[in-house]
């Protein structure tokens, strides 16, 4: 039984380790903090593994644990968590689908501006955006968070609009 759990755990980490590491990077710019959070997510996966009945996709279950851990990450000032994005992030265009802005995003300066805007989001909005950046559909995000799909759509639309507006203002002023 114990061996079976260990094998299942290793398999989950082997298949989802990158995903977990990315979530940790979204929330913590500091490498040590990322490592701590990664470890805490793994501990919570281990502790919740006995209760996983396969009712949701394993990826959804992993995202739930990652988001729930990030919201209750011990020893951290939640509100001060910084969202960390980098140029390798392929899904950034999902946040700002305007052609001009998309082109500008390729420039490092604009990326920094976007990062500044993302860091000003509330912890809830950061959680939602982190799932958008992961390429999850609205249905999947709704499953992870436990909101209805229309509700998630409205929230994400609102965040994107705010980001776009703030980015435009930022560009006009500079």
């Amino acid at each position: 039984m114990k061996e079976q759990k260990e094998e299942q755990f290793k398999k989950i980490i082997a298949e989802n380790g990158d995903r977990i590491a990315r979530i940790c990077r979204y929330y913590n710019p500091d490498k040590e903090d990322q490592k701590d959070m990664y470890q805490e997510i793994l501990v919570n996966i281990w502790n919740s593994l006995d209760k996983f009945r396969g009712e949701s996709a394993i990826s959804t279950w992993i995202y739930r644990i990652a988001v729930n851990t990030s919201l209750s990450f011990t020893g951290k000032a939640f509100r001060h968590m910084k969202m960390q994005i980098n140029t390798e992030q392929q899904n950034l265009t999902m946040l700002l689908d305007d052609d001009d802005l998309e082109a500008k995003l390729k420039q490092e300066a604009d990326l920094e501006k976007l990062q500044t805007q993302l860091n000003q989001l509330s912890v809830i909005d950061k959680a939602l955006i982190s799932l958008v950046l992961e390429g999850l559909s609205m249905r999947e995000i709704a499953d992870v968070i436990g909101l209805t799909e229309p509700n998630v759509k409205v929230k994400i639309h609102r965040i994107k609009e705010d980001l776009k507006r703030n980015m435009s203002k930022y560009n006009q002023n500079s």
């Binding site: 114990k2 260990e6 755990f9 290793k10 398999k11 980490i13 082997a14 298949e15 380790g17 990158d18 590491a21 990322q34 490592k35 990664y38 470890q39 793994l42 501990v43 919570n44 996966i45 281990w46 502790n47 919740s48 209760k51 996983f52 279950w61 739930r64 644990i65 988001v67 729930n68 851990t69 919201l71 209750s72 939640f78 509330s122 912890v123 809830i124 959680a127 499953d143 992870v144 968070i145 436990g146 909101l147």
Partner: protein
């Protein structure tokens, strides 16, 4: 393939698994030890109560001992269920559900908290009956009042200590969970 992925992990997975298994074993052992201790004490108490029941002629002692024993067993069962609940927080449920559960778990007054009142009442009556013959210098009514007032005072102190602990440790968690819920649902 799998090994490669595990090796790329930012932490030493094998050490972590080993630590988690040790922690699981420790928790299991701790729970078994607490349960064994509780049931062991209950068994000794049943034995003493049985002896007292046979040897004593006082019905106060007999009834008091029985009520205290029932209260003890009820406490043991309640604590066991609380321990199980607190030990098994599931992080794999939707975030909203987790936050709602956290808000309920860290509430000061809970409906299920009323269950504790039954064994407390039984213990109060039981101990009172058992000590009834020890204060012969007092009138019967005064003996009851003296004990019940002291018992009530001890319970108030216990509640205040519990309240301070709740306010310092659990209230901030509840407030945080409620604030997040409000933000999610706005």
């Amino acid at each position: 393939m799998e090994t490669n992925h595990i090796n790329q992990s930012p932490i030493d997975l094998e050490s972590l698994i080993s630590g988690l298994k040790t922690e699981d074993a420790r928790n299991l052992k701790l729970m078994l030890n607490i349960q064994s201790m509780m049931w062991g004490i209950a068994a000794v108490y049943v034995f003493i109560s049985a002896l007292k029941f046979i040897m004593t002629t006082s019905w106060y002692d007999k009834l008091g001992g029985f009520l205290t024993l029932v209260a003890f067993v009820a406490f043991a069962l309640l604590f066991r269920s609380y321990y199980k609940e607190y030990k098994t927080i599931d992080y794999g449920i939707p975030t909203i559900e987790m936050l709602k559960k956290a808000a309920i778990r860290y509430e000061l007054f809970q409906w299920r908290g009323l269950y504790v009142l039954a064994p407390l009442l039984l213990e109060g009556i039981g101990l009172n009956l058992m000590m009834f013959d020890d204060f012969t210098n007092l009138e019967p009514l005064n003996r009851i009042l003296f004990f019940q007032i002291s018992y009530f005072f001890v319970m108030v102190i216990a509640f205040l200590v519990g309240y301070i602990i709740w306010k310092k440790r659990q209230k901030p968690l509840r407030d945080y969970a409620l604030a997040l819920l409000k933000e999610f649902q706005s």
